[in-house]
C-alpha cells in the first residue's frame, strides 16, 4: 500500500516537472546533488566537474520526463534515474579521450568502472539539435527571451502576457511568432 502511495507520489512529481513547477524542480535538484558529488569526487573528479556533470544530467532527466521516456515504477525511481544518468555521464567522461589526455594514466579507473543500470546517454542528432536550440536561446535578445520564457516555460496565457507587457493581444502574438522565427534562424546558424 505504501509502495503504491509512493508511486502515486512519483507520478505527481512527474506531472509537476512537466508543468515546470520551479519549486519541485529546485527541490529535486537540491536533494539529489550531494550523492552525485560524492560519487564523482570519489572517482577522480573535482567539485566543479561534479556540478557540471550533475547539471547536464539534470537537464537530460528533465527532457526525458518531458518526452515521456520515463515512467515511475518504484518509490524512488526518479531520484535513482537522475543519479544513474549522472553516473553514466561521468563514466563516459572517464573513458573519453579528453580525460585520458589530462590523466595519461587512467587505465585502471576506466577498466574498473562498469555500467550497472545502463541508461544510454543520448548523443544523437536530436540531442545535438537540442543543444543548438539551448545555445541559440542564450543568443536571443532579452525581450524575446522574456516573452518566450513567460509563454513556454511559465505557461502564461497570451492574454496575461499582453496585459503584463502593455501590448495589444495581436501585437503580443505577432511578437512571439517573430521571436520563434528569430530563434529558428539562430539554431540554423550556430556561432
Amino acid at each position: 500500500m505504501e509502495r503504491q502511495n509512493n508511486i502515486v507520489e512519483q507520478s505527481k512529481l512527474v506531472v509537476a516537472i512537466k508543468a515546470n513547477n520551479s519549486k519541485v524542480l529546485q527541490q529535486l535538484y537540491q536533494e539529489n546533488y550531494k550523492k552525485v558529488e560524492i560519487h564523482i569526487v570519489n572517482n577522480s573528479g573535482s567539485i566543479p566537474q561534479a556540478q557540471d556533470t550533475y547539471q547536464e544530467a539534470f537537464l537530460a532527466c528533465y527532457q526525458n520526463i518531458k518526452a515521456d521516456k520515463f515512467e515511475p515504477n518504484s518509490e524512488t525511481a526518479l531520484q535513482g534515474y537522475l543519479f544513474t544518468i549522472a553516473k553514466n555521464k561521468w563514466t563516459d567522461y572517464l573513458r573519453s579521450s579528453q580525460f585520458k589526455k589530462v590523466q595519461g594514466m587512467s587505465e585502471g579507473i576506466s577498466a574498473t568502472m562498469k555500467d550497472e543500470d545502463t541508461i544510454p546517454v543520448e548523443n544523437n542528432l536530436a540531442q545535438l539539435q537540442m543543444n543548438a536550440t539551448i545555445d541559440a536561446f542564450s543568443r536571443l535578445g532579452n525581450e524575446c527571451k522574456e516573452l518566450l520564457k513567460l509563454f513556454y516555460y511559465e505557461k502564461k496565457s497570451m492574454k496575461e502576457i499582453s496585459a503584463e507587457k502593455n501590448l495589444t493581444s495581436a501585437s503580443a502574438r505577432n511578437k512571439k511568432y517573430r521571436c520563434i522565427q528569430k530563434l529558428k534562424t539562430l539554431v540554423a546558424h550556430p556561432k
Binding site: L25, Q26, Q30, Y33, Y62, T133, F137, I180, V187
Partner: protein, 244 residues
C-alpha cells in the same frame, strides 16, 4: 503578415494547443489523425515540439546555478555535514586508521605522541563550496584547494583575508586545520585558539579536539590532555586513554 506567415502562425498555435492539452476532443482526434497519416505534417510537428522543449530546457538551464547556490547558502553547513555520506566515508577512514593502530599497538606497546597524532588526525572534510557570493569568493576558492589537499595554496588564499576578518571563526578554524594538515602544529595552535572564545561557533565542539591533536603533534602532552578533556568528542576519550 502575409498568407504564408499566417499559415505558419496558425500551425504553431495549433501545435501549442495540442501539446498543452487545450484542444477539444474532436479537434484533438482530427489532429491525431493528421499526425498519423501525414508524414510531412508529423515531421513539422516534431520539429516544433523539439524547439519548444529546447526553449524550456534553456530557461531551466539558466536557473540551475541559482538552484545550486541557494542549496548551499540555505542549508546549515554543519547539519549537511552531519547527514551527508562523506561523513561516513571519513568515519570509515578514521575507523580503518584506528583498526590499523590497534594492530600496531598489539605488536608495539610504546606509542609516541607523533604516532598517536598520525593515527587519529583526519582533517575536517571542509565546507561545501559555492562560487556565487562574490564576498566569500576567495574563501571558497581556498576551500576548493583545501579539499584537494593543496594546503599551502589554501593557506595563502585564506591569509589574504585574514587582515580584514581576523576574528572570523570559520576562517580561523580552517586556517588552523590547513596548517595542522601541513605539519605546522605551532601555527595551527595560534589559529585554533582564536575560535575558543566563540562558544556559539559551530566549530566550537571540534576545535578542542583538533587543538588537542595540534598540541600532541607539537609534543605538548599536558596541554593536549587538557584540550581533549574539554572536548566532547568520543575520539578525545580514546586518545586520553591511550595517553594515560
Amino acid at each position: 503578415m502575409n498568407h504564408k506567415e499566417a499559415m505558419s502562425v496558425q500551425f504553431l498555435e495549433d501545435a501549442e494547443r495540442y501539446l498543452n492539452g487545450a484542444m477539444t476532443l474532436p479537434e484533438k482526434t482530427a489532429y491525431d489523425e493528421k499526425l498519423n497519416t501525414d508524414p510531412a505534417f508529423r515531421s513539422q510537428f516534431e520539429k516544433t515540439k523539439a524547439l519548444i522543449l529546447g526553449i524550456e530546457s534553456a530557461v531551466l538551464k539558466e536557473q540551475l546555478d541559482a538552484f545550486h547556490n541557494t542549496m548551499e547558502s540555505e542549508t546549515p553547513v554543519r547539519a549537511l555535514r552531519q547527514t551527508n555520506k562523506s561523513t561516513y566515508i571519513w568515519l570509515g577512514i578514521a575507523a580503518s586508521i584506528i583498526a590499523v593502530l590497534g594492530i600496531f599497538l598489539f605488536f608495539n606497546k610504546s606509542t609516541s605522541t607523533d604516532q598517536l597524532f598520525a593515527a587519529h588526525f583526519v582533517p575536517d572534510p571542509g565546507l561545501p563550496t559555492t562560487m556565487s557570493t562574490s564576498g566569500n569568493y576567495t574563501f571558497y576558492d581556498g576551500m576548493v584547494n583545501y579539499k584537494r589537499e593543496e594546503y599551502t595554496v589554501a593557506i595563502t588564499k585564506w591569509k589574504s583575508l585574514y587582515t580584514k576578518k581576523s576574528d572570523n571563526d570559520t576562517l580561523n578554524y580552517f586556517l588552523g586545520m590547513a596548517q595542522l594538515a601541513n605539519n605546522n602544529p605551532e601555527e595551527a595552535i595560534v589559529y585554533l585558539q582564536e575560535v575558543l572564545p566563540q562558544k556559539e561557533s559551530m566549530f566550537y565542539n571540534d576545535v578542542h579536539y583538533y587543538l588537542g591533536l595540534a598540541y600532541l603533534k607539537a609534543g605538548a602532552v599536558e596541554k593536549a590532555k587538557r584540550a581533549f578533556q574539554e572536548s566532547k568528542k568520543a575520539e578525545s576519550n580514546k586518545i586520553l586513554t591511550e595517553l594515560n
